[in-house]
Amino acid sequence: MDFANYDPDGVNRGREIISAKIVIAGGFGVGKTTLVGAISEIQPLTTEALMTAAGVGIDDASKVPGKETTTVAMDFGRITMAEDLILYLFGTPGQTRFWFMWDEIIRGAVGAAVLVDTRRITDAFAPLDYFENRKLPYVVALNRFGDAPHYELEEVREALAISPDVPMVLCDARQRDSVKQVLVTVVEHAMLRLQAEHGYPASVG
């Protein structure tokens, strides 16, 4: 067999490969990695960024004696959609002291889903605040844990003061079809937003 022609991904044909990214945000332990794992074609991977602890969550680094490196981990998954199109799903670090990493993660993203756990609804305030002040289109996905108190979507919208133009969906982060629906909602919302910005009537074809 001639391996010189073995080229399953079209890597060697000089074809341009486009990648897109959707961000999965939310508080610590809300199920972001579970959601990514439910639909990713690879086991969720972890990439680590290093920074000096002196720069984390502190405005005046001069007050910190000595520097220590801290590792921020983010989990992500991949869906290869075509030879020339790959979708990546990036989970944000859960701890809010790593906000600055979020800026890098959302840069260039198609949109985001903010995952909310009804058992710890107040954990969603910080991530929602973050997206309210960014241009990135986002949706809110209510992750239903088995023993979680049941709320109607509109109750949660009111409790978290989520703007009426932000779509909300119920989901089960363990279920592939449910996660797929969350991602479809993100992309549809991104398309509507983009059309609205360019003066088109709201419709997704």
Partner: protein
């Protein structure tokens, strides 16, 4: 003394493979995809251990910067410096991340992602 507590050693050690450089030649996005042809990988054999590892990860399957960092277990910042060097040296091919401008181009990409998701 714990080396992590040594202020001189704290950042220098992870960046030793980049000879202390922490700024990449270009700021490659986390999701930007890189690939390596057999010719490029053959050349990467002589580029040092870390660059050869990176090259091996991208051979036969295009990988994002984030995947390269995860598979090689190198910190993201270090990986970004090395990958940007390799792109400049012609050892890796950098593909474009999602188009950031142009209504038609962005709509087209969103449409492709949407149908890709629906087909899953």
């Amino acid at each position: 003394m714990d080396p992590r507590r040594d202020p001189r050693g704290a950042l220098v050690r992870p960046y030793a493979v980049t000879r202390g450089r922490t700024e990449p030649l270009q700021n490659i996005a986390l999701e930007a995809v890189l690939s390596s042809t057999p010719t490029q990988s053959a050349e990467a054999r002589f580029a040092g251990h870390d660059k050869y590892r990176i090259s091996s990860v991208c051979e036969g399957r295009a990988q994002s910067l984030a995947e390269i960092a995860a598979y090689t277990r190198m910190p993201l910042g270090v990986t970004r410096v090395l990958v940007a060097d390799m792109v400049a040296e012609g050892l890796l091919t950098l593909h474009t991340a999602a188009p950031a401008t142009g209504f038609a181009a962005r709509m087209n990409l969103l449409g492709r992602v949407l149908s890709g998701l629906r087909e899953l």
